[in-house]
Amino acid sequence: MAETVKCKKCGAELAMDVLRKHKKICPCCGYYFRMTARERIDMIADRKSFKELDKDLSSYDVIRFPDYEKKLEKAMDETGEKEAVITGTATIGGYPCTLFVMDSAFMMGSMGTVVGEKITRIFEYATENRLPVIGFTCSGGARMQEGVLSLMQMAKISGAVRWHSNAGLLYITVLTDPTTGGVTASFAMEGDIIAAEPGALIGFAGQRVIEQTIGQKLPEGFQKAEFQLEHGFCDMLMGRMEMPKTLANLLALHRQIPEKERRNA
């Protein structure tokens, strides 16, 4: 029997292969299922254009934190990935770019030193090769199991984003479900253009923590992508159906004019 999943929103039983064909959007109610990093890359990069970088970087138990090794092994087994982010180069609509794509299936997309290092490296690569960066965020935030080293990745990546920006290069972030904590409070919110997937949870503090702090239930729609748009923290909602086309258009609009032509202009 074919693998099926139940839609979290409308409860419809969906065949996995049908769902995949629909870019993991529920055909009944339009609910966005989470995508793995590989599914995301397949969806937005031109066919066979993606070339992965630093694919063998994997984490180890840097501060000897209880059960971290087991958690890492489990995450690797379940996802077949080495870490919670995949980076590389690709073309979208023929336009070259670099990509980082986070994967919530790997320890909730949490950011430790390897995630920090891979994202930093892709920004440095993009700066050297004068390429734009498109980043898909989804993360519970900094990874507790690597202590303060995880926290410092927020600063490290922000520095790399800044140097990329100083070089006059484009950085687009697409915030996907969920983008929270230290990722929101650093590179997710540092894009020249910030897009969000409809319905995605995007915020700094976790909802349970806020509810405990203020002693009341949060309003409907709090911290959703639509909420962020309304409060001025993202440029647009970007649906999956039009995502490759919209990204290609944004890349085209920011195409780097070669130095020589710019001087003559």
Partner: protein, 257 residues
């Protein structure tokens, strides 16, 4: 002393924090208020004064002394306006070519509906991004609790001085214990595994200098802190601006590479 003893000390209500040291070290200090966008956040206080006769911008997290003041200052948990005020004062320092000193001591960024509506994450992110481009020396002094992203937003620096009873952590030991063992009373165990002490941060090349408090009065400690600040700022002032910014990036670039 255990890691959790240090957490307790760092949080202690009787511990002298940034405002005290500004009072001891900085002459003619004038406080500036407001982020020019929405409000004035009492959890962050900043202004300009003289360090050995030279102007410096000082920014500190502030929790207040009396219960009333603490409530007004949100127990030292900054709102987005606090981070935006801090950034405004850093840019002002840049304009007038004076170094910046940031004092850290906060349980973390405030978490509430208003803070989310006004972009707590964006405010912290913007500070991190902007601080890598501030063209004057930045020295951070960690005195109390370095509570996660909320503390990090004032911690991008050229040199970090850390008091030996201060701590800096990705998550509070209580929060960590409740995730790990579903029991926040196991915070002391969590404090050990989180590696949050000054020695830990020094060993990881995050803290550059440790200030050993010893059995001294806060006034005596302030004298040593002033010497350290003078020395660190003196060193940094000799660097050209491009060199300063490159080494600031390098300082963070090598963490966990």
């Amino acid at each position: 002393m255990s890691a959790y003893d240090k957490v307790t000390l760092a949080r202690s209500s009787s511990r002298a924090m940034g405002s005290f040291y500004i009072g001891q070290i900085i002459d003619d200090f004038v406080e500036f208020h407001g982020d020019r966008r929405f409000a004035d956040d009492g959890a962050i206080c900043g202004g300009v004064g003289l360090l050995n006769g030279e102007p410096v911008t000082c920014i500190t997290m502030k929790r207040g002394d009396t219960l009333e003041e603490r409530m007004a200052r949100n127990f030292g948990c900054p709102s987005p306006e606090g981070y935006r005020k801090a950034l405004r004062l850093m840019k002002q320092a840049e304009k007038f070519h004076r170094p910046v000193i940031c004092f850290i001591g906060s349980p973390g960024a405030y978490c509430g509906i208003g803070a989310e509506e006004r972009g707590q994450g964006q405010a912290i992110a913007e500070n991190l991004w902007e601080m890598f481009g501030i063209r004057v020396p930045i020295v951070t002094v960690v005195i109390g609790e370095g509570g996660s992203g909320g503390a990090l937003a004032l911690s991008v620096c050229d040199s970090m001085i850390m008091f030996d009873n201060a701590v800096y952590s990705v998550i509070s030991p209580e929060g960590c214990a409740s995730i790990l063992w579903k029991d926040s009373s196991k915070a002391p165990e969590a404090a050990e595994v989180l590696r949050l002490t000054a020695e830990d941060l020094y060993g990881m090349d995050i803290a550059d200098v440790i200030l050993h408090e010893g059995y001294r009065t806060e006034e005596e400690i302030a004298v040593e802190l002033k010497e350290m600040l003078t020395k660190e700022i003196g060193k940094l002032k000799r660097l050209s601006t491009p060199r300063l910014l490159a080494s600031r990036y390098e300082k963070f670039r090598k963490i966990g590479n």
